[in-house]
């Protein structure tokens, strides 16, 4: 089973996010990046499936040159090779532009299964996989908290409002995994060494047959107008427990008549 994992590489969680008032985007250039934890779960799921059913896992990612560190991390986890869509012209792509680029890159190799994360941990649209499946003409199975493959079929447990649904389709298919589906492995030294020799193919939009007006800011159907910080609640009273803490909360709640 050949598996393509679409994974985003994003500013590391340790980085304090800075917002660029001009581009309305998070400052990415010059910032330390890491494999999105959500994408790491998709990589892990891909590796587990390939260990069980054979076949190679390929990572496809779109991002600036800072993302290489995250690609290496996925390769060190065990991904066989990577495709990096790297092009200034794709900056500011909306989700459809992103999906078009990813679809074109995925089509360059044989695949049975495309794995995504339900939503990225940064821009968090939760849209790309839906569009990607449509562009590739394959069924999409989303919100997977468990994935099993069997011959030419794939089956998932999809989170529902009050439990889960077992959803099945034939391959090829796209599966978007939820956070918590697995615990991604840490790369081992051997993997890290091996990763250095693995191939990273780099494509521009033109390499993928996409014209400049289909991708990037120009092709976008959405526009970000402003960006700002969410409002915070006001802090109240804080006491230290000296044996009376539990009672103090109860008294407070009785005082403000919540109970």
């Amino acid at each position: 089973m050949n598996i393509v994992v679409c994974g985003k590489i994003i500013p590391a969680s340790t980085v304090t996010i800075e917002l660029d008032p001009n581009t309305k985007r998070m400052v990415r250039k010059g910032v330390t990046h890491e494999l999105d934890p959500a994408a790491a779960s998709a990589v892990e799921e891909g590796l587990r499936l390939s260990e069980k059913h054979g076949g190679a896992v390929t990572l496809v990612t779109m991002g600036i040159s800072e993302v290489t560190i995250g690609i290496r991390n996925a390769l060190a986890m065990g991904v066989a090779s990577a495709v990096h869509i790297l092009d200034d012209a794709v900056a500011g792509s909306d989700t459809l532009g992103t999906a078009k680029l990813l679809a074109a890159a995925i089509k360059k190799q044989p695949f049975d299964l495309v794995l995504c994360a339900t939503e990225s941990s940064d821009s968090y649209s939760g849209i790309v996989h839906g569009q990607l499946a449509q562009l590739l003409g394959i069924p999409a199975l989303t919100f997977a908290k468990e994935v099993t493959a069997d011959g030419g079929r794939i089956s998932i447990h999809r989170q529902s409002e009050n439990g889960y649904d077992v959803v099945e389709s034939t391959l090829p298919a796209l599966v978007a995994v939820s956070s918590g589906i697995n615990e991604p492995r840490y790369p081992q030294l051997k993997g890290i060494m091996a990763a250095k020799k693995k191939e990273i193919k780099v494509y521009t939009a033109a390499d993928l047959g996409l014209a400049a007006d289909q991708v990037g800011e120009k092709g976008a159907r959405e526009k970000v107008l402003t960006i700002g910080r969410p409002p915070k609640r006001e802090a109240g009273k804080v006491v230290t427990d000296e044996g009376e803490g539990g009672k103090q909360i109860a008294d407070f709640l009785a005082e403000i008549k919540v109970i």
């Binding site: 940064d122 077992v166 939820s178 959405e222 107008l225 539990g246 009672k247």
Partner: protein, 331 residues
């Protein structure tokens, strides 16, 4: 082609009645309709839609489109997308609102793709820009660290709206609206994935999303057993338990109890956050609570900056004492 007109609400049903999210969308859509001077419509999918259609009208819809098809009774995403595409092409609304429910989160991207338009997910506010009449959508980004205002260039402007952000519409409007049946065609070939089993994990007691009091447990609880402790407390107050994402991811409690950006939104009278640090992604799901109280052994925990009342200390001591004090108060 005529000018796109009208706000179309995609309705969802629970046991043949309008879901609460649908009612919230009718309220949100009604406000947009008023400021744009456009009509408010709803579309319902499935079979036996009459009663729900009446409800939609009393909630303010002047026209309700019925897409009747047995395949639409199931949570079959492709069938819904196919039907909605046909309805949208016929109605040509300027705005189309979908609830950001489990189904809605899947419908939105695919419908937008089919209609060749954009989409904004997880709206927490909707406004009309004076002059341009464009829809401005506020949505959390960067893990809830920021709020972005986005617009969409094409019509319909499709938005999935976060549940519980808007109040439900009041059901006091006239029920004299018009019912329009739309003959939708859903070829069997569109159904390429199948739901083979639905597993409902029933919860005893009140549903978390509807509870007046919610006790939320975090990573600091350290395992599944303490949730039983929290449940005792919540039950005394007629409430329910919830959790942070790490607690769900660790398997201590089912993911359907996750509160936050990628979980559920709750708006209880009282939220009791126990051993939860107060990350913005968690707060995104509970900041609609009237009162938040927190228990955490770290003085610096972010949750104390957002809680009305906080106690610094070990939950192992505080929660049992709190439960005891409540027991005395209620008896």
């Amino acid at each position: 082609m005529s000018e796109a007109n009208g706000i179309l609400i995609v309705g969802e049903l629970i046991d043949a009645r309008l879901s609460s999210v649908t009612s919230e969308l009718l309220n949100a859509g009604g406000q947009l309709a008023a400021s744009l001077g456009q009509p408010l419509y709803a579309v319902l999918l499935g079979t036996n839609l009459q009663n729900a259609a009446q409800e939609a009208m009393s909630n303010g819809a002047s026209k309700v489109f019925l897409a009747e098809h047995p395949l639409l009774n199931e949570e079959q995403v492709e069938a819904h997308v196919t039907a909605l595409q046909q309805v949208a092409e016929q109605v040509q609304p300027s705005i189309l609102l979908i609830g950001r429910t489990q189904l809605g989160r899947e419908l939105g991207p695919r419908l937008a793709f089919r209609l060749r338009v954009g989409l904004a997910q997880d709206a927490v506010a909707l406004t009309v820009e004076p002059g341009t009449q464009r829809l401005l959508v506020t949505r959390p980004v960067y893990g809830g660290n920021a709020l972005a205002v986005v617009t969409m260039k094409r019509k319909p402007q499709i938005v999935t709206v976060r549940p519980k952000v808007f109040e439900a519409a009041t059901n006091d409007k006239t029920t004299e609206g018009e019912l329009v049946r739309v003959a939708v065609e859903i070829p069997n070939s569109v159904v390429r994935s199948r739901v083979v089993e639905r597993v409902a994990q029933e919860t005893a007691g009140v549903k978390m999303e509807e509870a007046r009091v919610v006790g939320g447990g975090g990573r600091g609880l350290g395992g599944p057993a303490p949730f039983a402790e929290l449940e005792k407390l919540a039950k005394l107050l007629g409430g329910a338990v919830g959790a942070s994402r790490p607690a769900c991811d660790a398997g201590w409690i089912d993911p359907r109890f996750q509160i936050g950006l990628t979980g559920k939104t709750i708006t209880p009278e009282l939220y009791i956050a126990v051993a939860i640090s107060g990350a913005c992604q968690h707060m995104a799901g509970c900041s609609g609570a009237k009162v938040i109280v927190a228990v955490n052994h770290d003085t610096e925990a972010e949750i104390f900056k957002q809680a009305r009342y906080g106690v610094v200390g070990d939950w192992r001591k505080i929660v049992p004492a709190f439960t005891e004090a409540i027991r005395e108060l209620v008896s």
